[in-house]
């Protein structure tokens, strides 16, 4: 199981009623996505990106070739329990509200009631829809629906996240957040396969990309390798005097190289985020994705956003000492030698297991009870623990792979 996703001359031909070929949507595709990387699938409209993803997930059957996802068939429940999928558009049940939607998907994963509730609240918080969580999703704007779609894809704390154009319809803040999230998730050892046209986004997050055209791979490789202009260098400085600039220019000219000096522009994204953050601080009304101070808190101060995401994804990885380690963070997996019964323990802590809270008793190491909201403690800490709950468990096996890939 070297690759998270591997396809072998995957081909999809759409034929008409008579069996005549009309579209060759994917043609002899050999895709290899390694564990713990962000892989971007690019290509113009109709180049076969979505078709490929659908074949990986068993929504379409390949005409020829085959696809292996996480070492098996993507349609197999055992495998799909470890996959999160965000389709091209957010196809949601219009009559369910946001919370019910997530609850429905959580139940398909057989998450126990408590875990489900915690994750739903954490996810709603994360995607900034807590204030509108009781509105039918049919009334949501495109971007709001997209956010629910994303939350839905994360509810099972997937090992492999398949995102089809994750940023369409999202505002720049949402886009930024998704990008941050992707990076944090990768830090956590997850694998991400995404499709997009927005090259800027892809450039920011992807380790490797493949460009499709006409169902065929035209170019493939590490983003840095593909894009780096090795014959150029860029120097960024703080504000310096004109004389210094002149001296630098002189130095460069001595080396016979060209030199351009400008004041760098803010990226429009950064500017936008700053502006909205300011408006948020003045508490201007909106009925969009952010409408209460609480959610404002999630979006407005950049630092807090960061901190939530940090907690969300870095719970396991971070080495910082924790005052009261929640039970799921039974650390053994992080030590290199895994004893057999510890492995059993971490299996027990896997989200799908109904006996989730039990390890507390069996463990004997963690003397504290799992952090519950009833126990009075600073709000921040509670939130942290919820988020830990959300992402803080993955199979020991995965952890091993993480470390493997890091060694590589």
């Amino acid at each position: 199981m070297e690759y998270a996703v591997e396809t072998f001359s995957l081909t999809k031909i759409f034929s008409d009623w008579w069996g005549r070929e009309i579209v060759r949507a994917v043609d002899d595709l050999n895709l290899r996505v390694r564990y713990n990387e962000v892989f971007g699938l690019l290509g113009p409209n109709g180049s076969g990106k979505t078709t490929t993803l659908k074949m990986l997930l068993g929504l379409l059957y390949p005409t020829k070739g085959k696809a292996i996802v996480l070492g098996g068939d993507g349609a197999n429940p055992k495998i799909s329990a470890k996959i999160g999928f965000l389709p091209e558009e957010s196809y949601l049940y219009r009559y369910l509200n946001a919370r019910e939607t997530l609850d429905f998907y959580g139940r398909l994963f057989a998450l126990p009631h408590k875990v489900r509730k915690m994750r739903i609240e954490a996810l709603l918080d994360m995607v900034g829809l807590k204030a509108v969580a009781n509105r039918p999703v049919g009334t949501f704007s495109k971007g709001m629906a997209r956010r629910i779609g994303l939350a839905q894809a994360l509810i099972n704390d997937p090992d492999l996240l398949i995102l089809d154009e994750p940023t369409t319809g999202l505002d720049p803040i949402g886009t930024r957040q998704i990008k941050d999230l992707i990076l944090k998730l990768v830090e956590r050892g997850k694998t991400i396969l995404l499709c997009s046209h927005l090259l800027a986004d892809v450039e920011d997050v992807c380790d490797r990309i493949a460009i499709l055209y006409g169902g065929k791979i035209q170019a493939q490789g590490r983003v840095r390798d593909l894009l780096q202009q090795t014959d150029k260098k860029q120097i960024t400085t703080g504000s310096i005097s004109d004389t210094t600039v002149q001296r630098i220019k002189q130095l460069i000219q001595n080396e016979q190289a060209d030199c351009v000096v400008t004041s760098p522009m803010d990226k429009l994204e950064t500017f936008f985020i700053r502006t909205v953050a300011a408006a948020q601080q003045q508490a201007q009304p909106t009925s969009g994705a952010v409408s209460t101070t609480q959610i404002g808190a999630f979006l407005t101060p950049k630092t807090l956003t960061e901190s939530i995401l940090d907690k969300l994804v870095s719970a396991r990885v971070s080495q910082e000492p924790r005052p009261e380690p929640p039970t799921e963070q039974v650390h053994p997996v992080e030590t290199s030698q895994t004893k057999p019964d510890e492995q059993l323990l971490s299996k027990l802590t896997k989200p799908a297991e109904p006996a989730q809270p039990k390890p507390v008793v069996k463990n004997g190491k963690a003397k504290t009870k799992p952090v519950k909201t009833e126990t009075p403690r600073p709000a921040e800490q509670t939130k942290k623990s919820i988020l830990d709950q959300l992402t803080g468990r993955s199979t020991p096996q995965n952890e091993d792979e993480d470390s493997d890939s890091k060694v590589n």
Partner: protein, 483 residues
């Protein structure tokens, strides 16, 4: 199981929140009490209740059938068309679990709605007599009043009491009960018919142009009718075994209808009846069970009932019914086949019978839900609805269809028996197991019959449909769009 349950609850939410179910619920909640208030039937209280129960149940059944068809089809086709199924099927759920979840949701909704509406119908049926003052309490009140009243008043009260007793009696014995019915076994006439046929053939009297089969059928029915006919001065005897009344203090009812060869001037037939264990006459032993005799005068071509104390039945469940065509008449008296004569006796309560009748409707709904699910695995919403409606209506009139095809000419019926007939027999027979058919004449719908229908309609036919649906769906390419 958890995923099946999740899908089921989601399906119910969909049906309720998309207001599909709401339309039907409101319609029924308004219509049922309205029907209870406005339907008068033939004027008697019994007639009024019979019409109400019959129409109420039929309407409930019809609307719930439509609802079931629509919801079961909409639930899956909308998922496919609006593509929510992409996010559902990529979760750890098997395709058959999705289908079973949808089915379970529809059935649960049906059970809930059926329970609600049948409870309304039942309540109205039970309380209407009280509303009209036809009750045991009212009778007792009248009787005490009678006892205290002066002689002049008593005369008026007497009539009133009499009328009330009559109505109560009719209600309790002919409607608010469940009566088992015994029909005399048909006489075996094959040999006689073949003899006659050969006789005719020999003498060359066979009608030209008719096939042997047709002539035999004609002769058979004529012969059978002959066995049910009595000329003036003749008698007929029917023998029944296995008569098991609920308790011997109650009554048996002999229900009959006359046909005549010549209409009597006043359209009435005089008769003399003998009911009991007639074997006691022959063996000359001491008579243990009573034998009852009746002399009657009855209108022709309408149903009548003779009430006989149930102790007329012998220990071993034997009962004979004898009819004598008295010389006062001037005509042959014929008891039509199948419906001419039957013995009825109380075998269960109205409530239990009503419950089973409602179960009969539920079976229908389950079948239709399976059908809808099957149709939606490979058809779009409108086409699937159309197909299911066709099946529904065909099943509703299947008895009529089969009968009418039997009258087709020879060549056509051969064609029919190889094409349409198997299809129709594959469908369930909704009309044959119509709940109103049992409740209106207060006929017993036995557990064994219910079990039989369940076995046939659900265990065989519906599960076949479901199996087919699972098969089709598990091979279907979900994301392939077919236009």
């Amino acid at each position: 199981m958890h995923s099946i349950w999740a899908v089921a609850t989601n399906t119910i939410k969909q049906a309720l929140r998309m207001k599909v179910a709401l339309v039907f619920i409101i319609l029924l909640v308004v219509l049922l009490p309205l029907m209870g208030a406005s339907m008068t039937g033939d004027g008697t209280l019994k007639g009024r209740l019979q019409t109400f129960v019959s129409y109420g149940l039929s309407l409930t059944s019809l609307l719930l059938c439509l609802l079931t068809i629509i919801i079961s089809i909409y639930s899956l086709t909308s998922d496919i068309e609006q593509r929510q199924i992409y996010t559902v099927l990529t979760k750890p759920i098997r395709r058959f679990q999705l289908l079973l979840g949808k089915l379970l949701g529809v059935i649960l909704l049906d059970v809930a709605l059926l329970a609600l509406f049948s409870a309304i119908i039942y309540t109205i049926t039970i309380y209407t007599p009280r509303y009209f003052g036809v009750s045991q309490a009212e009778l007792t009140r009248l009787k005490t009043k009678y006892n205290q009243a002066s002689e002049a008043e008593q005369l008026g009260l007497e009539d009133e009491i009499f009328e009330l007793e009559d109505e109560l009696y009719q209600l309790n014995n002919e409607f608010l009960t469940a009566r088992a019915s015994l029909i005399p076994p048909e006489a075996d006439v094959t040999h006689e018919v073949i003899d006659i046929y050969e006789e005719l053939e020999k003498t060359g009297q066979l009608p030209p142009g008719a096939s042997r089969k047709k002539i035999i059928a004609e002769l058979t029915s004529r012969k059978k009718l002959e066995k049910q006919a009595a000329a003036v001065g003749e008698d007929l005897i029917w023998e029944f075994n296995n008569v098991k009344p609920l308790d011997p203090d109650q009554s048996l009812f002999i229900r009959f209808k006359y046909d005549v060869s010549v209409n009597p001037p006043d359209l009435h037939v005089y008769s003399s009846w003998l009911i009991g264990d007639v074997r006691q006459f022959e063996s000359g032993i001491e008579i243990e069970t009573p034998i009852y005799t009746f002399d009657r005068k009855d209108l022709i071509r309408t149903f009548h009932e003779i009430e006989v104390p149930a102790d007329a039945v012998a220990q071993d469940g034997y009962l004979a019914v004898g009819f004598f065509n008295v010389p006062l008449n001037d005509t042959v008296v014929i008891f039509p086949l199948n419906v001419g004569l039957e013995v009825l006796y109380k075998a269960d309560t109205f409530t239990a019978n009503f419950l089973r009748a409602v179960c009969l409707i539920l079976l229908r709904l389950i079948f239709l839900a399976c059908l809808g699910i099957l149709a939606s695995t490979f058809l779009s919403f409108p086409v699937a609805v159309l197909l299911s409606l066709c099946v529904f209506f065909t099943a509703t009139i299947s008895g009529f269809l089969v009968e009418s095809f039997d009258f087709l000419s020879e060549n056509l019926s051969a064609l029919y028996s190889y094409t349409l007939r198997p299809v129709i027999t594959l469908l369930p027979q909704f009309d044959k197991f119509d709940p109103a058919k049992f409740l209106v004449p207060a006929r017993l719908l036995s557990w064994s019959l219910l079990a039989k229908v369940t076995g046939l309609m659900i265990c065989i036919k519906a599960s076949l449909l479901l199996l087919l649906a699972l098969l089709v769906f598990s091979f279907r390419e979900i994301a392939k769009i077919i236009i």
